[in-house]
């Protein structure tokens, strides 16, 4: 049976401006999937997050995984897969509306 794990890297966190999730080590996993669930999308309900997957050889120094910026807008879930990521994963992101606050959960689902 394959191994799997879901890590909640941000739980009802309110973001303003730029952010990055904590380093997550998952060398054992072949595949991963991000879920960004926006719970509160700013005062007008239309703010969102722009998010980029990042990878690292050591959990300290990071680079972008690809040139895709994932956009999550309004309340709901946005998801994308990642493979061949090496051993460390995180996302960097920013709130897409100046001055807005967005509350979200960020799940990382990994599988061997």
């Amino acid at each position: 049976m394959r191994q799997s794990m879901t890590a909640v890297l941000e739980r009802n966190t309110t973001f303003e401006g730029e952010f990055a999730t904590e380093p997550y080590e998952a060398a054992w996993a072949t595949e991963a999937r991000w879920f960004v669930q926006i719970l509160s999308a700013g005062s007008d309900g239309e703010a969102g997050l722009r998010v980029v997957t990042q990878i690292s050889p050591d959990g300290i120094t990071w680079c972008d995984y690809d040139d895709i910026e994932h956009v999550a807008t309004g309340v709901g879930v946005t998801s994308w897969p990642v493979r061949e990521f090496g051993h460390w994963l995180r996302v960097r992101g920013e709130v897409d509306t100046a001055g807005a606050a967005v509350t979200a959960r960020i799940y990382l689902a990994v599988k061997s």
Binding site: R11, E22, A26, D58, G59, I60, H87, W88, R105
Partner: protein, 313 residues
């Protein structure tokens, strides 16, 4: 004869012979095959599933990781029993705690023992700033490394309840540095029970993010045994596994003893204060947790290679 045979079988198994289990093994966890139920602890939430109702000091204990002990200098270090160890990692926020909990129940009363092979490290700090060569009382001298003063404390503890809702914790903490980042290298226990979500719900206590959830007031921690230097091994990227064996008695609701490598500390005299009020929904609760707390803005890690929980009932 029966006991000799049992000991011989345990001794012949390299996975078990590194432990000294009591008669009945409840769990034997090596982390090459998953997390074995060691999961993130979180405070309680309301009937609507609103995680905003979770206590601030119990809402961010971080998901455990299955780590190959990968480091910037050598790459993969690996664990003691294979490639992977369970890793608890704090945020780089002073006072932040990471907690992994394992949830069981009791089918008897008597001796309970948890054994583990563990190590503790800080995240390496990289940069050109010469001030990185000094931290707390430690200056880089080719042997001692300032990162050792950046490790706060790790804790092994239980949450136990039974016999009509009588709930208590047993706790052993290795305080590597005090809150002023001075090396103390001592074992400590709290003199009060851990604040609970119900106490917050009832308005008795409200703790801030980063509060020491096991016992928030530093005055409530007392040292036991003699100070003990462990094998941090100089730099933050060398891993030496330490043996831990901690025995309790749930019949007496007491600690028995704590063994760390070659040191055995009598804990039978240490008070184990129960909650004054009884708890529902927790009959025969038997939880174990490991936690790690940073006293600086540097991430602290606790790695567990393997753990074994055994009982004599």
């Amino acid at each position: 004869m029966k006991n000799d045979l049992r000991e011989a079988i345990v001794a012949a198994d390299p996975r078990l012979s590194r432990f000294r289990p009591l008669r009945r093994i409840l769990a034997h966890d090596e982390f090459n095959t998953g997390t074995h139920g060691w999961c993130e602890l979180i405070g309680n939430y309301d009937g609507r599933g609103d995680l905003g109702t979770v206590d601030d000091h119990m809402r961010d204990f971080r998901p455990p990781q299955l780590s190959a002990c990968n480091f910037f200098d050598i790459g993969t270090h690996g664990a003691m029993s294979g490639t992977y160890a369970l890793k608890l990692a704090t945020r780089p926020i002073t006072g932040h705690t990471a907690v992994a909990i394992r949830r069981l129940t009791m089918s008897g009363r008597g001796k309970v023992q948890i054994e583990a092979y563990f190590t503790f490290k800080t995240e390496a700090t990289l940069g050109d700033d010469a001030s990185l060569n000094t931290f707390g009382d430690v200056a880089w001298d080719g042997n001692l490394h300032p990162s050792e003063a950046q490790f706060g404390a790790f804790t092994v503890a239980t949450d136990i309840c039974g016999d009509g809702g009588l709930r208590y914790h047993t706790v052993a903490r290795y305080q590597n540095t005090d809150l002023d980042n001075r090396l103390t290298r001592r074992w400590m226990y709290p003199t009060v029970p851990e604040p609970t979500p119900r106490e917050h719900f009832e308005g008795k206590v409200k703790l801030q993010y980063g509060a020491d959830f096991t016992a928030p007031n530093p005055e409530d921690w007392k040292a036991f045994g003699e100070p003990q230097e462990l094998c941090y091994n100089e730099v933050p990227t060398k891993v030496n596994w330490h043996y831990l064996r901690w025995q309790l008695d749930t019949e007496k609701r007491r600690n028995v003893e704590l063994q760390i490598n070659d040191r055995i500390m009598d804990m039978s005299h240490i008070p184990v204060p129960p909650y004054e009020e009884s708890y529902d929904s927790l009959e025969n609760l038997l939880n174990f947790y490991f936690s790690v707390r940073t006293h600086t803005s540097v991430r602290n890690f606790l790695f567990v290679d393997s753990a074994l929980i055994s009982v004599d009932w």
